[in-house]
């Protein structure tokens, strides 16, 4: 029976020739992930299960990122619980403050997820790694505990929606606009219990970082996972982050899909998701007059180096509006360092933005930028539910880094081209040449020996 890419990965990890949608199976896990919020309950369940050691200390990843650096005493205790467990179990991939980052930016950066892997994480945005051609999905803490104890977990084989991409994005439109547009088309439960499988000639036009942004928000359409085919860009990225061999899976040409959705990337425009659902999507140019109190540029969705480059291109030489607090949060320490080496850190601080150490922070209303009643934020994060970033009467508008940076400068939601004509895409997204953008040749010059660009390392 022909299979989708997701079905092939599940079948292979379950030791089965073929699988069908709806089938329940138990599959072996390549990686089990948890964070400071979800790992402590998982550790408790792990002990209740009577398990003594994790199934493989190289295949458990623990990241304190949500309320870390510890935001209060309770958060400190949760982080400590996870740290103690990591030490006791000699977990190889425990990332302490100082080398940590937001988990879903960190794992691809460290090459911990490669094509064909089967990954579970006690965090809904674990679906991010579909960008790398892996099957990865979010689970709960008890699932994580079972995964740590057995190295196996139950899954229901999903059917899939085929998302056919054509054309190339242009102007300020990018990965975030693609996924928001898709969620606007199919709704927040448009892919419930299903996979999103991205295909078509347009895939090649998306950078690895943009694919990570797209897969990251598959869950916002209710999807179990959102997966990209493995191509030259994937292979180049994989080679740059890991030496581990991996396996490529390809959907059968005659695989059966529940539905097909087509998107022409050349027609994408910068969009915004209005409160309080990621599906309330409109072009930024049609936002009307929406004054903004806070702008957050960061998160596992858009906190990678390309995102910071885009934001910096708009903020460089401009000022954050007096009525706006602009908070920039590089997603990992390496991205943070790269932003310093490329001179982006100076761009942000000179513009009057705050540059924070990596953390989830305001994305889930944790710390570092909580909203008061009646306040509005434009955020490059992934959820605009009621109360997500603070007071239940606050509002969140989701957008990509260009729209967010333009909002920081103008204090309103605008199409970014009203602030700055979009530069050439290749140039905007790539590591700047020394002297690029002028002005700070000295600090930029160092970028030549800097760590490779975000998705790459």
């Amino acid at each position: 029976m022909p299979m989708t890419m997701t079905q092939k990965i599940l079948a292979a990890h379950a030791g089965l020739e073929s699988v069908e949608p709806g089938q329940l199976l138990e599959a072996g896990l390549d990686l089990v992930l948890g964070n400071d919020i979800t790992a402590p309950p998982a550790i408790r369940e792990f002990r209740k299960m009577g398990a003594r050691t994790v199934f493989d200390r190289d295949r458990v990843v623990l990241v304190p990122d949500h309320f870390a650096p510890n935001k209060d005493i309770k958060a400190a205790e949760q982080c400590k619980c996870m740290r103690d467990f990591a030490r006791e179990q000699e977990v190889t991939h425990y990332f302490e403050v100082g080398e940590m980052g937001i988990e879903h930016a960190l794992l691809p950066e460290r090459g911990l997820v490669l094509p064909g892997d089967l990954v579970i994480g006690a965090d809904s945005h674990t679906c991010t790694y579909g960008a790398a051609g892996a099957f990865s999905t979010g689970v709960g803490s008890t699932d994580m505990a079972a995964g740590m104890a057995l190295g196996r977990l139950w899954f229901k084989v999903p059917e899939a929606i085929r998302v056919v991409l054509t054309g190339k994005p242009s102007g300020w439109a990018g990965g975030k606009d693609l996924i928001l547009t898709l969620i606007g088309m199919i709704g927040v439960d448009g892919a419930l219990y299903q996979s999103l499988e991205f295909q078509g000639a347009g895939v090649a036009a998306l950078t690895m970082e943009e694919r990570l942004t797209v897969s990251n928000m598959a869950i916002e359409a209710g999807a179990k996972n959102g997966i990209f085919p493995v191509d030259e860009a994937t292979r180049a990225w994989a080679a740059s982050v890991s030496e581990r061999p991996y396996r490529e899976y390809r959907a059968d040409p005659d695989a059966v899909y529940a539905r097909e959705v087509r998107i022409d990337l050349s027609r994408l425009v910068p969009v915004v998701a209005f409160p309080h659902l990621p599906s309330n999507v409109r072009p930024a140019s049609e936002a009307g007059d929406v004054p903004v109190d806070q702008v957050v540029i960061g998160s596992c969705t858009n906190g990678r180096i390309e995102d910071l480059r885009i934001a910096a291109a708009i903020l460089r030489g401009r000022r954050v509006a007096r009525t706006v607090r602009c908070i920039v949060i590089p997603a990992t320490q390496r991205i943070y360092l790269q932003a310093i080496r490329e001179g982006l850190a100076e761009d942000f601080v000179e513009a009057g933005a705050v540059l924070s150490t990596p953390t989830c922070g305001p994305c889930l209303g944790g710390h570092m930028g909580i909203l008061a009643a009646g306040e509005r934020a434009v955020a490059t994060t992934n959820r605009n539910f009621v109360g997500r970033m603070g007071h239940p009467e606050s509002e969140i508008y989701l957008a990509g880094p260009a729209v967010a940076a333009a909002a920081a400068v103008t204090g309103r939601i605008r199409d970014p081209s009203e602030v700055l004509e979009a530069p050439d895409r290749e140039r905007l997204l790539s590591t700047p040449e020394p002297g690029w953008g002028g002005g700070r040749a000295a600090s930029r010059g160092r970028s030549r020996d800097a760590v490779p660009a975000g998705g790459a390392r």
Binding site: H66, D72, K74, A122, V139, F385, R388
Partner: protein, 175 residues
């Protein structure tokens, strides 16, 4: 297994931030989570809910984060079952794994009104509304999931497996 209680009814896309806001996630104590259950959507819920009561939602109940704190908060609040037209998949997994009964029935979710007296039979998947004098059937759980629920949740299920296998990773006795 049966349950009975009053219906608390909400709409579509009840998300996990509504069920338990992230600002309370610095704890995983069930009683504390229960005290803030549904707070941003219905501040009166935690005070009004009684053991056995039933949460009724529309489509995509439990969408959003993977926080198991959401079904845990609902269960600890005394809710005997969640009925919805459809569930977000991680919430569904989590509910099964922690042993919170959930029933999927678009008809029941549409027919039940707030305050209705409900009685539930989980074996047959029957939902009876005493106030309306009507009843609905929901699809029973597949056998695989029923085994997990019958074991008392995934933790007990894995525990039994580890003990059976005499797995080197497992402890023998009770803990």
């Amino acid at each position: 297994m049966t349950a009975a209680g009053r219906a608390f009814k909400y709409g579509d896309n009840v998300d996990t931030d509504a069920i338990i806001p992230a600002r309370y996630l610095n704890t995983s104590d069930p009683a504390e989570l229960a005290a803030h259950c549904m707070e941003d959507l219905d501040p009166s819920f935690a005070g009004a809910v009684r053991p056995g009561d039933v949460l009724v939602g529309g489509r995509n109940f439990g969408c959003g984060s993977s926080r198991e704190h959401a079904p845990v908060a609902i269960k600890a609040a005394g809710v005997s079952c969640v009925i919805a037209a459809s569930f977000a998949r991680i919430f569904y997994r989590n509910a099964v794994n922690i042993g919170l009964p959930i029933l999927e029935s678009p008809e029941a979710a549409a027919g039940i009104e707030a305050g209705d007296r409900l009685s539930l039979d989980f074996g047959s998947g029957t939902i009876s509304d005493g106030t309306k004098n009507s009843s609905w059937r929901s699809a029973p759980f597949p056998p695989f999931m029923r085994r997990i629920m019958e074991a008392g949740g995934l933790t007990e299920y894995v525990r039994a497996r580890l003990t059976e296998a005499g797995d080197s990773g497992a402890e023998g006795g009770g803990s």
